[in-house]
């Protein structure tokens, strides 16, 4: 039985991001495998490291591609006036609540792929933990940041 999922999905472009990142893994895996093969030919390494590398890469990339729709389907976040909720995972479901007045700072960051599709990762830090919303549209991220700043001003510093 599936839980009825509330809250907002990540931007749909995220699926593309995950696929690009899977291709990235493929490239890195292939380069390492090629390196092993090179070492086999020129430095007398065994043959098997290259094959193992190739196999692991293929399995990993296939998995990454296969779970993209699921990952997307079960990733949800919700930002209300009082708190931020993050929900993810189907096989390992995880649900987090972070009240806004516990948030110490918000970091927006974007790697090359996210920059390409114009998205930002939002990192939310409390006095004890760090949580991440994998990607938001820049407007949403900015809005969240503003809202937290305002609330933080009101709440004062009681979390030390």
């Amino acid at each position: 039985m599936l839980r009825v999922i509330k809250g907002e999905a990540l931007p749909t472009k995220m699926k593309t991001v995950w696929r690009i990142s899977a291709i990235g893994s493929l490239l890195i895996g292939l380069i390492i495998a090629a390196g092993c093969q090179f070492a086999h030919i020129h430095f007398g390494w065994w043959v098997w490291p290259a094959w193992v590398c190739l196999l692991v890469t293929i399995i990993d990339v296939a998995m990454e591609f296969a779970i993209v729709p699921y990952r997307y389907r079960f990733w949800r976040y919700r930002i209300s006036d009082d708190d931020v909720e993050i929900e993810s995972g189907f096989f390992f479901h995880r649900q987090t609540a972070i009240p806004i007045n516990r948030i110490q700072n918000v970091t927006l960051k974007a790697g090359p792929i996210l920059q390409l599709v114009k998205l930002q990762t939002v990192q939310i830090e409390t006095a004890a933990t760090t949580h991440e919303i994998e990607a938001l549209l820049p407007e949403t991220a900015e809005e969240l940041k503003q809202r937290i700043m305002v609330l933080a001003m009101e709440a004062g510093n009681e979390n030390d």
Binding site: T126, A128, T129, H131
Partner: protein, 468 residues
């Protein structure tokens, strides 16, 4: 007040020097083992010590501090100059450590901590200053005007440990195990250094008396380890005293090193009632504070020990010092049968995985490993009946977490919970079980207090309570 730059106490030179020597002591000692030419080694060691003394002198020479009634400023460093300004209002924890050799000189060392999270060390350190200045600083931090005379602060409430309680605390602390491991490690290191001839002889003796000698050695090591652990705890908590001064809690303790930690009540993140299985049988409990402070690094699992050991019936003593701790601390309801079984099953599975290789590859001695399975099962059962969570009122929750024959009952105020996480694997979904994780700040990092295999309605109720 004057704002002339002050120097540290002269003894600070010695303290700096000893600290520097500490860095190089291990390679130096090891080189004595290796070299046959002791004179040369000794000369080199002396050279090092001299150079480090010079370094210590430099450090002392460029270490100043000043303070007025608003803030403390510390200047340090010659090549890398550092100036730190700490407003007294921001200081949350004051720690003083007085080694026994500092006492005759009326000197002490002071560490001051604010709520900043950037550094792992205290924000301000004055390695050795006179006790009088330390008292003045404490007064300023408390927000009182400085008197030139040192005044004894008035305690609103206080508790001093008596000898028999201290003795009980030391005897029931399971802190013996890490020390034992340390001794074993030391033994390993030493036996590496013994010459091979000696080892050869020893092997022959072993062959003669065999297992008997091995057992004697193990028992002796165990006894030494236990004794060392006992003495360590006695000297660390010697003359323990807890007092409440307005909005601050102050603990004092120690024989060789008198340690005083003064912290604001608002810094307390949670209170833990800790019982090892031995304490539980004797109806004793240790009360500890989870603090957002690094001052408690050396304490019992990084928590500040507030009341080392009290009778289970006396827990209202904790309420006297921290008023949001309930007068009567009762246990939360147990997990459901399904939840309890899951914990026992996991413990059994883990012990099976540990045991299997021994039984498969190390027969016949490997069969001894089978003993791990009942112990693991017992441990799982202990955890299973000592887990639970209950909401005390709108503001507080109490969590019981049992593991490794030890149980902690936490009282956690909602406002100190930084985030709350529910986790559920697909296998748990069918059985309506959820892991619940409460994140609280400890020191400069996170302590996750979790209840595993909680029934879903209970977990969801707590989640809603937290969000409300």
């Amino acid at each position: 007040m004057k704002t002339t730059k002050r120097r540290l106490h002269l003894l600070a030179i010695i303290v700096f020097w000893v600290r520097y020597l500490g860095w190089v002591s291990i390679p130096l000692i090891l080189s004595f083992f290796k070299d046959s030419n002791y004179v040369e080694t000794l000369l080199i060691a002396a050279g090092f010590a001299g150079a480090l003394l010079l370094l210590a002198l430099f450090k002392y020479g460029w270490y100043f501090y000043t303070f007025d009634d608003q803030m403390l400023t510390i200047y340090s460093g010659l090549l890398f100059r550092k100036t730190r300004q700490i407003p007294f209002k921001r200081i949350q924890t004051v720690q003083t450590n007085q080694w026994f050799f500092l006492k005759p000189f009326g000197a002490t060392s002071v560490k001051l901590e604010t709520s900043g999270k950037s550094d792992n060390d205290a924000e301000g350190e004055l390695p050795v200053i006179s006790q009088q200045v330390a008292d003045q600083l404490q007064q300023l931090v408390n927000g009182n005007p400085v008197q030139t005379m040192t005044v004894v602060p008035v305690a609103d409430d206080s508790y001093s440990i008596n000898w028999s309680d201290l003795n009980r605390y030391a005897l029931t602390s399971m802190g013996i195990v890490p020390i034992l491991l340390g001794l074993l490690w030391l033994y390993g290191k030493l036996s590496e250094r013994l010459s091979s001839q000696l080892v050869g002889e020893a092997v022959q003796v072993y062959a003669h008396y065999g297992v008997l000698i091995l057992i004697v050695i193990v028992v002796v090591i165990l006894l030494i380890g236990m004794l060392a652990g006992y003495v360590m705890i006695i000297q660390r908590y010697y003359h323990f005293r807890l007092s409440k001064q307005e909005d601050r809690l102050v603990t004092e303790k120690g024989l060789f090193q008198r340690n005083q930690i003064s912290t604001t009540l608002t810094r307390i993140q949670a209170v833990a009632f800790r019982q090892t299985v031995i304490r539980q049988l004797l109806h004793l409990v240790s009360v500890q504070l989870i603090l957002a402070s690094e001052a408690t690094k050396k304490e019992d699992q990084n928590n500040l020990v507030m009341l080392p050991v009290i009778q289970q019936a006396q827990t209202k003593l904790a309420h006297q010092f921290v008023d949001w701790v309930p007068n009567n601390v009762s246990q939360p309801p147990r997990l459901s049968g399904k939840g309890q079984w899951s914990l026992i099953r996991n413990a059994l599975l883990i012990s099976l995985i540990v045991t299997a290789p021994f039984v498969i590859w190390l027969r016949p001695l490997g069969y001894l490993a089978l003993l791990v399975i009942p112990i693991g099962g017992l441990m799982g059962w202990y955890a299973a009946i000592n887990c639970g969570i209950t909401q005390l009122d709108d503001e507080r929750v109490s969590v019981l977490a049992g593991h490794h024959f030890q149980r902690d009952l936490y009282i956690i105020p909602k406002r100190k919970v930084q985030s709350l996480v529910l986790r559920q694997s697909i296998l748990m979904k069918r059985r309506q079980l959820v892991h619940l994780e409460i994140n609280v700040r400890q020191g400069n990092s996170n302590q996750s207090i979790s209840v595993r295999y909680l029934s879903q309605p209970v977990a969801e109720a707590i989640y809603q309570w937290y969000r409300a």
